[in-house]
Symmetry: C2
Subunit: 86 residues, 2 copies
Protein backbone atom coordinates (compact mmCIF):
# COMPACT_ATOMS: atom_id res chain seq x y z
CA UNK A 1 0.00 0.00 0.00
CA UNK A 2 1.43 3.37 -1.02
CA UNK A 3 1.47 6.37 1.29
CA UNK A 4 -0.59 9.27 -0.10
CA UNK A 5 1.75 12.27 -0.19
CA UNK A 6 0.11 15.67 0.02
CA UNK A 7 1.61 19.05 -0.86
CA UNK A 8 0.39 22.56 -0.10
CA UNK A 9 -0.78 22.85 -3.72
CA UNK A 10 -2.43 19.40 -3.90
CA UNK A 11 -6.09 19.54 -4.90
CA UNK A 12 -8.22 18.44 -1.95
CA UNK A 13 -10.76 16.61 -4.16
CA UNK A 14 -8.00 14.55 -5.77
CA UNK A 15 -6.47 13.66 -2.41
CA UNK A 16 -9.92 12.86 -1.01
CA UNK A 17 -10.56 10.50 -3.93
CA UNK A 18 -7.23 8.79 -3.28
CA UNK A 19 -8.01 8.37 0.43
CA UNK A 20 -11.45 6.93 -0.31
CA UNK A 21 -10.02 4.57 -2.95
CA UNK A 22 -7.27 3.26 -0.69
CA UNK A 23 -9.72 2.79 2.20
CA UNK A 24 -12.10 0.85 -0.06
CA UNK A 25 -9.28 -1.42 -1.21
CA UNK A 26 -7.14 -1.82 1.89
CA UNK A 27 -9.39 -0.70 4.82
CA UNK A 28 -6.42 1.45 5.85
CA UNK A 29 -4.74 4.57 4.45
CA UNK A 30 -1.75 6.72 5.35
CA UNK A 31 -1.46 10.35 4.31
CA UNK A 32 1.82 12.22 4.67
CA UNK A 33 2.24 15.99 4.67
CA UNK A 34 5.18 18.31 5.39
CA UNK A 35 4.49 21.89 6.38
CA UNK A 36 1.40 23.79 7.45
CA UNK A 37 -0.06 24.23 3.96
CA UNK A 38 0.24 20.54 3.18
CA UNK A 39 -1.15 19.45 6.56
CA UNK A 40 -4.14 21.75 6.02
CA UNK A 41 -4.81 20.24 2.57
CA UNK A 42 -4.53 16.73 4.02
CA UNK A 43 -7.06 17.46 6.77
CA UNK A 44 -9.48 19.13 4.33
CA UNK A 45 -9.14 16.14 1.99
CA UNK A 46 -9.99 13.83 4.88
CA UNK A 47 -13.18 15.81 5.56
CA UNK A 48 -14.22 15.28 1.93
CA UNK A 49 -13.24 11.59 1.98
CA UNK A 50 -15.24 11.13 5.20
CA UNK A 51 -18.29 12.45 3.32
CA UNK A 52 -17.76 10.15 0.33
CA UNK A 53 -17.32 7.04 2.47
CA UNK A 54 -20.17 7.87 4.87
CA UNK A 55 -22.54 7.44 1.92
CA UNK A 56 -21.27 3.85 1.70
CA UNK A 57 -21.72 3.27 5.43
CA UNK A 58 -17.98 3.53 6.13
CA UNK A 59 -16.93 5.89 8.94
CA UNK A 60 -13.24 6.76 9.04
CA UNK A 61 -11.14 8.12 11.88
CA UNK A 62 -7.57 9.42 11.95
CA UNK A 63 -4.61 9.15 14.30
CA UNK A 64 -1.91 11.70 13.48
CA UNK A 65 1.77 10.85 14.05
CA UNK A 66 5.11 12.55 13.54
CA UNK A 67 7.47 10.82 11.11
CA UNK A 68 10.99 11.80 10.08
CA UNK A 69 11.49 11.73 6.33
CA UNK A 70 14.66 12.41 4.36
CA UNK A 71 14.29 14.80 1.44
CA UNK A 72 17.32 15.81 -0.63
CA UNK A 73 19.58 14.56 2.15
CA UNK A 74 17.83 16.61 4.86
CA UNK A 75 15.68 15.11 7.61
CA UNK A 76 12.30 16.81 7.96
CA UNK A 77 9.41 16.09 10.31
CA UNK A 78 6.24 15.14 8.49
CA UNK A 79 2.75 14.59 9.81
CA UNK A 80 1.25 11.21 8.94
CA UNK A 81 -2.50 10.74 9.23
CA UNK A 82 -3.18 7.06 9.84
CA UNK A 83 -6.75 6.51 8.66
CA UNK A 84 -8.91 3.48 9.46
CA UNK A 85 -12.61 2.65 9.50
CA UNK A 86 -14.14 3.12 12.95
Amino acid sequence: MDIIKVKANSRTAAVAGAIAGVIREHKHAEVQAIGAGAVNQAVKAMVLATGYLKEEGVYIVAVPEFVDVEIDGKVRTAIKLVIDPK
Copy 2:
Protein backbone atom coordinates in the same frame (compact mmCIF):
# COMPACT_ATOMS: atom_id res chain seq x y z
CA MET B 1 -17.79 21.43 27.37
CA ASP B 2 -15.83 24.25 25.74
CA ILE B 3 -14.37 24.01 22.26
CA ILE B 4 -10.58 24.31 22.28
CA LYS B 5 -9.73 27.12 19.87
CA VAL B 6 -6.30 26.98 18.26
CA LYS B 7 -4.43 29.79 16.49
CA ALA B 8 -1.36 29.68 14.29
CA ASN B 9 0.71 31.01 17.20
CA SER B 10 -0.79 28.69 19.85
CA ARG B 11 1.82 26.63 21.67
CA THR B 12 1.36 22.97 20.77
CA ALA B 13 2.23 21.74 24.28
CA ALA B 14 -0.44 23.99 25.83
CA VAL B 15 -3.07 22.85 23.33
CA ALA B 16 -2.05 19.23 23.84
CA GLY B 17 -2.47 19.62 27.58
CA ALA B 18 -5.92 21.10 27.04
CA ILE B 19 -6.94 18.22 24.74
CA ALA B 20 -5.71 15.61 27.23
CA GLY B 21 -7.46 17.37 30.11
CA VAL B 22 -10.80 17.62 28.31
CA ILE B 23 -10.59 13.99 27.19
CA ARG B 24 -9.88 12.86 30.75
CA GLU B 25 -12.87 14.81 32.06
CA HIS B 26 -15.43 14.44 29.26
CA LYS B 27 -14.19 11.46 27.13
CA HIS B 28 -14.70 13.82 24.17
CA ALA B 29 -12.97 16.96 22.89
CA GLU B 30 -13.46 19.41 20.03
CA VAL B 31 -10.63 21.48 18.63
CA GLN B 32 -11.33 24.34 16.23
CA ALA B 33 -8.81 25.98 13.89
CA ILE B 34 -9.09 28.53 11.11
CA GLY B 35 -6.36 28.72 8.50
CA ALA B 36 -3.44 26.48 7.58
CA GLY B 37 -1.15 27.58 10.40
CA ALA B 38 -3.81 26.96 13.03
CA VAL B 39 -4.83 23.59 11.56
CA ASN B 40 -1.18 22.53 11.58
CA GLN B 41 -0.80 23.50 15.25
CA ALA B 42 -4.02 21.63 16.10
CA VAL B 43 -2.82 18.44 14.42
CA LYS B 44 0.62 18.65 16.05
CA ALA B 45 -1.05 19.21 19.44
CA MET B 46 -3.14 16.12 18.88
CA VAL B 47 0.00 14.06 18.22
CA LEU B 48 1.38 15.20 21.59
CA ALA B 49 -1.94 14.60 23.37
CA THR B 50 -2.10 11.11 21.85
CA GLY B 51 1.28 10.41 23.46
CA TYR B 52 0.23 11.73 26.87
CA LEU B 53 -3.00 9.72 26.92
CA LYS B 54 -1.46 6.54 25.54
CA GLU B 55 0.58 6.34 28.77
CA GLU B 56 -2.76 6.15 30.61
CA GLY B 57 -4.07 3.45 28.26
CA VAL B 58 -6.36 5.88 26.41
CA TYR B 59 -6.12 5.87 22.61
CA ILE B 60 -7.71 8.83 20.87
CA VAL B 61 -8.86 9.21 17.27
CA ALA B 62 -10.07 12.24 15.34
CA VAL B 63 -12.79 12.95 12.80
CA PRO B 64 -12.27 16.32 11.08
CA GLU B 65 -15.27 18.39 9.98
CA PHE B 66 -15.85 21.75 8.33
CA VAL B 67 -17.78 24.28 10.41
CA ASP B 68 -18.83 27.80 9.50
CA VAL B 69 -18.01 30.31 12.20
CA GLU B 70 -18.77 34.02 12.30
CA ILE B 71 -15.87 36.27 13.23
CA ASP B 72 -16.29 40.06 13.25
CA GLY B 73 -19.44 39.66 11.16
CA LYS B 74 -17.73 37.54 8.48
CA VAL B 75 -18.43 33.85 7.96
CA ARG B 76 -15.27 31.75 7.78
CA THR B 77 -14.81 28.02 7.35
CA ALA B 78 -13.03 26.41 10.27
CA ILE B 79 -11.76 22.88 10.70
CA LYS B 80 -13.08 21.11 13.79
CA LEU B 81 -11.28 18.01 15.02
CA VAL B 82 -13.78 15.86 16.92
CA ILE B 83 -11.67 13.72 19.23
CA ASP B 84 -12.85 10.62 21.08
CA PRO B 85 -11.28 7.58 22.69
CA LYS B 86 -11.11 4.63 20.29
